[in-house]
């Protein structure tokens, strides 16, 4: 077979193949190098003191407990805000909407929201929540900003999941005399829980990785905040990513920065794994 091919073609073939393998190899080694380097530089500096205290100027110690807590607070507040809105919007698009044009406009708006860079969200969040609604630089302002940012993710995953619910379920429920809202509450929503969970995981991933949108909305403070303080206006706090940025860029404390980066990497890995598992479960249901 191969004899019939001219030499030039064979060489070209081999070169292209080689280049493909090389680029895939390059990407893999890039990731491995990245992970290896960050863990190598970061893990030696992760200590119990680092993750369980707040920074103290008096003792000259650095701790990232406030940043861990702030990250958690922002994740929770963001999800609490965005979940009802996103799931509601998806349900409207899939179950209620009759006007095709309106659906198209909403979908266009969702795509637009997904494409806006985070620095613009940060800026608008600052104008809107920090100044206009006078929440001050605070976790609340940051969470509200991120809620708008993650809205497209939740809408999309919920919508995809809604599409997998068989029409017969809806017709059966309606045929038995259930109202539409009753049908959605008892039949449709339980079927799309896994889609909603996937959306949550992806949103958590975005929130954990976000920094530009939080810089001017949630601020750079490193104080320990209690739960009631976290939901109050005016209490600023930096998440892990923002803290990492500040330690690396503004203070030159690269050991701390790498320790935080290592923690962030592990978090990213866990989030990716859970998203994969959720996606597999979604597929099983579909198949």
């Amino acid at each position: 077979m191969t004899d019939t091919i001219s030499k030039a073609r064979k060489i070209k073939d081999t070169i292209l193949k080689l280049m493909m393998v090389l680029s895939a190899g390059l990407i893999c080694s890039l990731l491995l190098g990245l992970i290896g380097y960050i863990l190598y530089r970061g893990i030696p500096h992760i200590s119990w003191m680092l993750v369980s205290t707040k920074p103290s100027l008096l003792r000259g110690t650095v701790g990232i407990l406030p940043n861990i807590l702030n990250t958690l607070y922002i994740i929770i507040i963001t999800l609490v805000i965005v979940l009802p809105l996103g799931v509601g919007a998806a349900i409207y698009l899939n179950e209620y909407a009759k006007n095709k044009k309106l659906v198209r406009v909403i979908e266009l708006a969702t795509e637009t929201l997904a494409g806006i860079p985070s620095i613009i969200y940060g800026l608008v969040g600052m104008l809107l929540f920090v100044q206009f609604f006078s929440l001050g630089t605070s976790l609340m302002a940051g969470s509200l900003t991120l809620a708008i940012m993650t809205l497209p993710t939740i809408i999309r995953t919920t919508q995809e999941s809604l599409k997998t619910v068989p029409k017969a379920y809806r017709e059966g429920s309606l045929g038995l005399g259930a109202g539409k809202w009753y049908m959605i509450r008892t039949v449709v929503i339980p079927c799309v829980i896994d889609g909603i969970v996937t959306g949550c995981i992806l949103s958590v991933g975005r929130v954990v990785g976000e920094s530009a949108a939080l810089l001017f909305t949630a601020g750079m403070a490193n104080e320990l905040l209690s739960v009631p303080e976290a939901v109050q206006a005016g209490n600023a706090g930096s998440t892990l990513t923002v803290a990492m940025y500040v330690y690396a860029k503004e203070r030159g404390q690269f050991d701390v920065a790498f320790a935080v980066a290592a923690i962030l990497l592990v978090l990213t890995f866990l989030i990716n794994m859970s998203a994969k598992i959720a996606a597999v479960r979604l597929k099983q249901k579909r198949g």
């Binding site: 019939t4 990407i27 179950e95 989030i271």
Partner: protein
Amino acid sequence: MEKIKKTARWMERAMNLLFLVCGLLTILFVVLITIFLLISGIPAIRDIGLGDFLFGKVWASTSAKPSYGILPFILASVYGTLGAILIGVPIGLLCAIFLAKMSPKKVSSAVRNVVDLLAGIPSVVYGLVGMIIIVPCVREIFHLPDGANLFSAILVLAVMILPSIISVSETAIGAVPKEYEEASLALGATKTETVFKVVVPAAKSGIVTAVVLGIGRAVGEAMAVMMVAGNVANMPKLFGSVRFLTTAVASEMSYSSGLQRQALFSIALVLFLFIMAINLILNVVIKKKV
């Protein structure tokens, strides 16, 4: 119908309305973002003059005789994005073709995991690694006084746009009907020739979408670029310290005031218009495909 209680019917209507409001919220947010950016961005442009603002070559916001020209930022963003695309697209595309058509299933799924993980890594982590590894390397290799420059930023951006380019173009390539391939193979083309001359052209619109998405990501990236590009408002040179549109906003926002602050909002407005243009292109491409 009469048997349904009045409260139930009332409830139905309320829920209908509630869901409609949720649906309309996305539109509201887009409108709000646009309005806030326009309101806060336009005054400075009016003060400075559109021409001086867009095409002025000097940005000296804090000097005694301030000058607000953002051409350096625009060009830096454009060059940076172009450079990232030039490096990222060939590598990403080759990798996507490899994943979709050439490699064994197990290898594909492993590499796909790698790509997903790359996509999930926070941009500040890329920035940190760029700062610690790429910047010193660039300085040593090219014998520069400082390695924080446009070239380093391009390298970091190229890595950051890889995941979106790979996953979107892989999906597009995978969606090409198998008959195309079979026909080409039956005519005597090798597997590689088939993939490059038949499958890839057939998946063109998906690949264009991937590239445009990559452009969007590169234009909008702020933190990683801030950490490796040096952040000086020069006219861009490959080995000179530069400031992008995104980093121009981020770096001065915390201490700005007056016209300077307003000018920062105007920069954000320009960036927003860039992104909207990219979205528009994306929509046109997607619509064509349907």
